[in-house]
Symmetry: C2
Subunit: 252 residues, 2 copies
């Protein structure tokens, strides 16, 4: 009286909660080969096939690829454990990556909402009210009032979206400059980077050699700017100052 069960595709599909196509596919890739009814060629799944499918679906839910599942199922017993531990590591890595992404997205949202301080130039308008006022006075003394005010206006006129775009451009320029550091401040790589930076700061100032050189100093001497650059690379500010000096000499 043993229930000599032989499921057809759809029957097994319904039981297991997958589509018939899935079973066709598993057959096609030799992951789960059913028997065949010689009369009509229909697939016939017996008890062992059902068990194997259960195993497959279990591992699939855990995020294994079908290829990995095949490997695991074709080797017995203990390899399952090591495969699972391996798999756990990759899942954890994926989770860490996701957490990084989420953090970045959240920072970006914060920035777009305006409640976070910004990098480098963006500090100009990103400081808290008090700090901003104090710094503005200092900047006026150093660079002249109308120039500073103009810079503020220019930055404020951008949309949030544009601000984000500009910041990102800045970041890539600084990263390129870091890559140029091994070649020295006079290298074409560095000078190319400074040229891009020169273009970039148009978003803030009408640049002149005076302004460029002043910024080179500012990045080194002002602790707020300096902190920002240090986060990218500890020698970046110094490197940029030198490169800017070379650049301005060539320009004149």
């Amino acid at each position: 009286m043993t229930t000599d069960l032989r499921y057809t595709v759809r029957q097994l599909a319904v039981i297991a909660g997958v589509s018939a196509r899935t079973l066709h596919y598993y057959d096609e890739i030799n992951l789960l080969k059913p028997g065949r009814n010689p009369a009509n060629g229909y697939r016939l799944y017996d008890r062992t096939a059902v068990l194997r499918l259960q195993q497959i679906l279990f591992l699939r839910e855990l995020g294994f690829s079908l290829e990995e599942i095949r490997e695991v199922l074709n080797q017995p017993d203990f390899d399952l454990l090591t495969a699972l531990e391996q798999h756990r590591l990759s899942l954890q890595a994926r989770r860490r990556k996701l957490e990084g992404l989420i953090a970045t997205v959240e920072r970006t949202i914060s920035f777009l909402k305006g409640d976070i301080e910004m990098d480098a130039h963006e500090l100009f308008s990103g400081f808290s009210e008090e700090k901003q006022k104090a710094y503005k006075e200092e900047a006026r003394r150093r660079y002249g009032a109308q120039r500073v005010d103009e810079s503020y206006q220019r930055w404020d006129n951008y949309s949030n979206d544009q601000k984000l775009k500009i910041m990102q451009e800045g970041k890539t320029i600084y990263l390129d400059l870091v890559e140029a550091m091994p070649y020295g401040p006079s290298s074409p790589q560095a000078q190319e980077g400074i040229a891009r930076w020169h273009q970039h700061i148009r978003y803030f100032y009408e640049p002149s050699a005076e302004i460029l050189l002043g910024l080179g100093d500012l990045y080194n001497d002002d602790p707020r700017f300096n902190a920002t650059f240090n986060r990218i690379h500890p020698d970046l500010a110094a490197f940029m100052r030198q490169a800017i000096q070379v650049y301005c000499q060539k320009m004149s």
Copy 2:
């Protein structure tokens, strides 16, 4: 003296850290259309293209699909914020899913290592030493010593891999029985499920009507078994008891 930059594919690719093929592809799907050198048909990327690429890569890193990126970039300003918040939600959902997977993997690993209690029958050998001894005595009183010992032996002889397979089979049977509940304990659906269960418990006992009926009671009366079944469905144990009674009457 504006640096009138026009990058070729590979140049931009190197700068941006992507492959030339990627740029070709973005061109192909109209995500980033460069200009063309009319003389030879070469792609030429200008400053605005570079900026747009930066945006694209930024969003891509955040896990946006290229399709989504296109939508975001083709609408200005504020939609970025809502898109980001939307995106954050989906990232968080993915993280939750990952965490569920990791938990399951870890439980499975624990099980394979043998330090966790098991479901239903698996409780027989999965309890802590003390509980196990106590329960074994009880079982001996109820079902006779040699029968219980035989069950233990049978279970212990399986490999970890086989145990896992058996547990999974059991789980699917119980779930199928839950689906059969609306049709009543005498329904073909339920009886089919009980027949599978009957086969299943061969892994533990040489089944007789006496044993089957006894298990039907045990699932309801023993709090440890009952808890396990309640986790699947609050009425499952009661349903199974009735279905088993019907099944045994038909068998006799």
